[in-house]
């Protein structure tokens, strides 16, 4: 069956919506982290219980993507189709399943953990007090079965594409996106409408639209969640973009490390093609559009658009100097638009609801919402989507539930290896592109790593530089050699071998790399160093001047000693991997410092807190 007109699409949606439904819908979170946390066993138990108790007609099970409640995986949600009542269970075990199904939606099963929903869907709901999150990008993720196009179609899926290709001219689509103020969510924040306009203005028989799904930023996983949980939204938006700029081919460039996302995309493309929503003459408008998938092969620099294009061409993913920009000369030297997954996930909503609506969320300079992957030392790790302008305090302490184990908050790192740290002083800053830039960080793709007092900021800067070293493609000297020298300096600092002028040398070299590196990866690589230097210079000085690591992380600068609290139980002696602890039973033990490898096992195992870290 092919759907050939907007009317047919609407009729189809209405028919799907009015289909008789089972009283309870049960959503099971089957994203990568859900599966890793054991959702598959829970799902099996659910199917078993349904079969045993003949609940086939009472409960409909739907496998969905990530609900964003990663800290409580495995997560399941029960929705009462009649009342709209929803119940979310976290940390579900297969043993709890019978009780949960028996309780249904009318009561809470004993001995379980329930979670509150603290988000709303601005497209069709208004916010209630206490709902800090607004879901546009994640509107279907964790709600619809990504492998079943009917669920997407019943929810106005492909209506935006139908509207664009049958009721709007390409220029009107571009004007709408420009008016909405949508900016690139991959990190740079370039206005999407302007990018599209550049490509549309080029005269060329062939153009390309690319989806950058090479989510390489360590600690960011929102693109994976969207692709795994809602692939059709991305496909639909790419087709809209293709129509706007005059491209008939879309390419999704995705990491090979995301096999589940690849599989769901393949299924989604096939389903859309079968219904004629992709392919030739979409909605009988004369517009043709097809999408192919290309795999990355593990190179962070391929997130940079020129490098990404080279990779699609089957070459080494090395960046080239811009201009020419891809919008003028991109894939196969044809005009090309490269947008990231999250950017595309906003497009359909803007076409459906209009630019004004989109602008009603977020700040004047950065309209809409932003998804953050909240991870690290925060109590509730997860995927959150908030209107731009939300403060860090609301995210980390509100949605994230504060710091784990009652430790003190130290900083949040945003923007990955290109970003910087936000300190307690800036907790109340409304977050948008400009605000983050003004305090020396950047939006980046939205990874947010929370750090507590046990994290050494010099070590964190070293970690990011090590990452850059690994990932530098080696084409330009400032990045290839400059970062190596920076890394060596940081290594000296963490090992207590640095001289006092090291801080000035770090600053000078950082400035040089920023000015002279070829692409975004190199130009931003000194940011973690500069940002930690600006905010935590005292920590650097403690390492350099006093040979002391205040957080007690840098192994070369710490020593373990056994105090007189030692009762001589011998536990540490047994556990020590290098046998450097000696002592008679019931006598105070001692550590041979010359052989100690500072692994900290004695410190962790001692039940009497007799091992002290200095």
């Amino acid at each position: 069956m092919k759907i050939t007109s907007p009317e047919e699409l609407a009729q189809n949606a209405a028919a799907l919506k009015s289909r008789p439904r089972k009283p309870i819908k049960l959503l099971v979170s089957m994203g990568t982290c859900g599966i890793a946390a054991g959702t598959a066993a829970v799902l099996k138990a659910i199917h078993q219980e349904i079969a045993e108790r003949n609940l086939e007609n009472a409960i409909e099970v739907s496998e969905v993507g990530c609900m964003g409640l990663c800290h409580a995986e495995p997560v399941i949600m029960l929705a009462d189709e009649a009342t709209g009542e929803k119940l979310i269970y976290g940390d579900v075990t297969p043993e709890q399943v019978p009780a949960i199904l028996a309780a249904g939606t009318s009561s809470i099963a004993p001995g379980t953990r329930t979670l509150e929903r603290n988000w709303y869907y601005p497209e069709f709901e208004t916010a209630k007090p206490g709902e800090p999150q607004a879901r546009i990008v994640l509107r279907n993720t964790g709600r619809l079965n990504p492998e079943n196009i009917e669920e997407y179609l019943a929810d106005d899926g492909y209506a935006a594409l139908a509207k664009a290709v049958t009721q709007m001219t390409p220029q009107q689509v571009i004007d709408l996106i420009t008016a909405s103020g949508l900016r690139g969510r991959g990190g740079g924040g370039f206005p999407t409408g302007r990018k599209w306009q550049f490509a549309a203005d080029q005269k060329s028989e062939e153009k390309f639209i690319i989806c950058n799904a090479d989510e390489g930023d360590p600690g960011a996983f929102m693109d994976r969640a969207v692709l795994e949980g809602d692939p059709h939204t991305v496909l639909e938006a790419m087709a809209i973009g293709g129509y706007a700029i005059g491209a008939h081919t879309g390419v999704i460039y995705i990491r090979a490390e995301y096999p589940l996302a690849v599989r769901r995309l393949e299924i989604a493309i096939r389903q859309a093609e079968e219904l004629g929503l992709l392919g030739r003459n979409i909605f009988d408008s004369g517009f043709d559009f097809r999408i192919e998938i290309k795999y990355g092969a593990g190179a962070f620099v391929c997130g940079e658009e020129t490098a990404l294009i080279h990779s699609i061409e089957g070459k080494r993913g090395e960046p080239t100097v811009k201009p020419p920009f891809p919008a003028v000369e991109g894939l196969w030297k044809k005009p090309t638009v490269v947008n990231n997954v999250e950017t595309y996930a906003c497009v359909g909503a803007i076409v459906r609801k209009g630019a004004e609506w989109f602008r009603s969320l977020g700040t004047a300079g950065s309209p809409g919402t932003k998804v953050f992957a909240l991870a690290g030392k925060v109590a509730k790790v997860g995927l959150v989507e908030v209107p731009m302008g939300t403060t860090l305090r609301d995210i980390v302490f509100g949605i994230g539930g504060g710091i784990k184990n009652g430790r003190a908050f130290k900083a949040v790192q945003t923007g990955g290896p290109s970003g910087g740290c936000i300190t307690p002083a800036n907790l109340d800053l409304p977050i948008d592109y400009e605000a983050l830039k003004s305090i020396g960080s950047m939006m980046g793709s939205g990874g947010m790593i929370v750090m507590d007092e046990d994290d050494c900021m010099v070590n964190i800067a070293k970690f990011f530089l090590e990452f850059t070293l690994d990932e530098s493609c080696g084409k330009c000297t400032p990045c290839r050699i400059g970062n190596r020298r920076m890394y060596e300096m940081l290594n000296e600092i963490t090992e207590g071998r640095a001289s006092l002028d090291v801080i000035d040398r770090l600053k000078t070299l950082s400035a040089t790399i920023k000015d002279t590196a070829l692409c975004g990866l190199g130009q931003t690589s000194p940011n973690p160093v500069l940002s930690t230097l600006a905010n935590f210079e005292d920590e650097y000085l403690a390492h350099v001047k006093d040979s002391r690591c205040p957080a007690g992380v840098c192994a070369k600068l710490i020593r373990y000693e056994i105090s007189d609290r030692c009762v001589g139980c011998g536990l540490c002696l047994h556990r020590c991997p290098v046998n450097c602890i000696s002592g008679e039973r019931k006598m105070r033990h001692r550590i041979d410092q010359s052989r100690c490898i500072k692994c900290g096992v004695c410190f962790q195992t001692c039940k009497f807190h007799a091992v002290e870290k200095h």
Binding site: A36, C70, H71, A256, E257, K294, A297, A375, V381, D470
Partner: protein
């Protein structure tokens, strides 16, 4: 020619099992829509290498030459691509591919200690395989399961909240 391992037609005689894999790769390349444009034909290089690595486990010189010949590009170009991307390997590796995630979230939650423990127990460095060919130890950047940090992947299986103490259990799980 140093030995007589080539037959009359000049192609290398391979064990049947190997030959089957090459045949399958050949078929796969045939299914790709490679047009006449020689530039664009090489656009499928990375895709083909993915398939080849899936089939053979690693990209040997023989496989590299085969792919180069099929795409009509030099072997140097093929090797240039392989050496650029961390996903591609040109040496056989251990049957159990242990990858410790060293992304930011895992890093702050103690991944370095986990990696050290694997190194200590297996007596190999990062990027190496054990002499008996059982284990390979590597580090990768972020599998996107940050909520379970630190994460270790053994082949396709994900272990979450790993500590140095759990390393022995993970190795134990890898029974032949």
């Amino acid at each position: 020619m140093c030995c007589n391992c080539r037959n009359a037609s000049g192609t290398v005689a391979r064990p049947p099992e190997e030959q089957q894999k090459f045949d399958e790769l050949e078929r796969y390349i045939g299914t790709l829509q490679v047009g006449d444009n020689p530039d664009r034909r090489r656009g499928s290089l990375i895709q083909i290498l993915h398939r080849a690595q899936h089939l053979f486990g690693y990209l040997s010189e023989e496989v590299q030459s085969f792919v180069a010949a099929r795409l009509n590009i030099s072997r140097a170009e093929v090797y240039g691509v392989i050496s650029f991307y961390s996903y591609f390997i040109d040496q056989p590796i251990g049957r159990y591919k242990i990858n410790v995630c060293t992304g930011t979230a895992c890093f702050v939650k103690g991944a370095p200690k986990v990696l050290d423990e694997f190194k200590r127990r297996l007596e190999i460095r990062e990027g190496e395989s054990t002499p008996d060919g059982k284990f390979f130890l590597g580090a990768l950047r972020c599998v996107g399961a940050c909520s379970l940090a630190p994460v270790v992947m053994v082949n396709e299986k994900v272990y979450g909240n790993v500590t140095a103490e759990k390393v022995a259990d993970i190795l134990q799980d890898c029974a032949d």
